[in-house]
Amino acid sequence: MSAYSITEPSRRQKWIAGTLVILYALITMAPLAWIFLTGFKSPPDSISYPPKVVFTPTLEGYVNLFTTRSRQTREYLDSLGPARTWYEEIVRKREMVIAGPSKFGERFKNSVIIGFGSTFLSVFLGTLAAYGFSRFKVPLKDDLMFFILSTRMMPPIAVAIPIFLMYRSLGLSDTHLGMILLYTAVNISLAVWLLKGFIDEIPIEYEEAALIDGYTRLQAFYKVVLPQAATGIASTAIFCLIFAWNEYAFALLLTSGTAQTAPPFIPTIIGEGGLDWPAVAAGATLFLLPVLVFTILLRKHLLRGITFGAVRK
């Protein structure tokens, strides 16, 4: 069943289309592949010219990402005896010892808390607001919807200074709650607009049927509307997460310690004599994973079509 083309494309058309898709995929994947590979290079390999495509892989980047190290004299290193772990051995080769864990783990955890927290809050509030706007008579509905949209008309960073001052006086600077609220405020307009579109498409007959079948409005919302809005909720959640996860400017401005997220942290990983590129690449690779996993998990909800055809139009 094809809703888009009336005739089956010819072999040649398929071949051309396939080639273009593969070419496009190669172009977009190349930088990601380079980051991924750089994460497994040694620091000299990572900055060698011409760039090395074939190299001996090492976990040094990942070790450096998760640890802080200090340079020691050879005598001191010899006095320590043989390295007890594989990562210590990697560090020893550079004449260093591990001084302790780096802050990456903590920053990553902050990203997860703030990213998923604000995504949940945006989608939760957005779904309720969108349902209200979609189903009830709200006074000044159109104006309110426009107001909600208008909050995104200015780049958020334009109000960075007022927000910075506000957060400082409210004690929200460098807190998880502050960052969650901020990202939710930015995402909520997107969530309300996207979800209202999805909920508008769910015929009201389902809820009416449920009301008559003996359910309250809230039960009908939960049992009938939510399952059918799953597609919209999943895609909205992905959009919200991607924004909150990747946000850099506010994170740089408003967080420094407790609540700092990974984006402002990763570029500050300094090795000896400049940026430690393998560690930065390792951090970037790990940083990509949660959004990737989240998207794959929600993938089945992104496929439309489950609601089509059960109400005769």
Binding site: P203, E205, Y206, E208, A209, A210, L211, I212, D213, G214, Y215, T216, Q219, V224, P227, Q228, I306, T307, F308, G309, A310, V311, R312, K313
Partner: protein
Amino acid sequence: MAEVRLEAVTRRFGKVTAVDGVSLTVPDGSFVVLLGPTGAGKTTTLRLVAGLERADAGRIRIAGHDVSDWPPARRDVAMVFQQYSLYPHLSVRDNLAFPLRSPLRRLGAGEIDRVVGEVAEMLHISHKLDNRATQLSGGEMQRVSIGRALVRRPAVYLMDEPLSSLDAKLRAELRIELKRIQAELGATMLYVTHDQIEAMTMATHVGVLREGALVQFGSPREVYEDPDSVYVATRLGQPRINVAPSHLFPALDLPPGASLIGLRPEHIEVGGNAPNPVKARVGRIEHMGDQTRMHLLVNGASLVTLTDPHTRMQPGEEVPIAAVAPLFFDGDGRRIRRSGSMP
């Protein structure tokens, strides 16, 4: 089962009055059919009883309780929508069980299975119970939709053209089945349809709506044989009642004020035996299978009657016709009844 009373119920949508002071009693155990063209307020009336709409004026009583301010769930009604609104994310079985799983009814899983099985059997959808609702054909969906109402024993069943999307065979089957269920359960039913056969065969009472107002209420035979107006007369009858100027048949003894006559096909007698005949020319003859319609031209007026499928009459032929027991209406379409015996 219970009696449903509407007391001067009015519902407006902006400037449009969808239901206009309707007072109607659906007696306990009766099958009331609402007739009327699109926009006459039939569906709105059902929705008012269901609680999906609030009346702007008037009260609604179910089983003696004033339910006007009750939410739908509390009114204990079941409704079949014209647009079969099956829950697309659920299987057929879960769709049928949905009303039984409401927190209002605490039925055991075994009991739910039994009822769902029975209803599925009755509607010939047992083999589809585990399908997703969206994998059904239109007729199957509508049967599930009816089944979702039948799993319950509510105070009143509300049905909004439930059979309109089915093919002729299934419609005939379900018509009989619905009537049987209604009679067996002694169920109270408020039913909207356009279909004359459904109205005539299933209804114990017919209510005719016009622009939101109830213009006549009575048994199907009363409404068919003794309509109060041209409007009501045209609601029932296939082909429709012929409405012609009263002077078309000069021999008729007209009551005072009669300016229109209504002739159902059976009111037109064709052929030599007709008393005081007028001349008519045969127009088209339509063979429709179950009936054969003959169009007649009389003094510029066009009448439709039924004839024998093997009629020898040919288009263009002249035949004598007469009006037998026609209905009389005044210029505004109001019925004029002759006091005393029928003419």
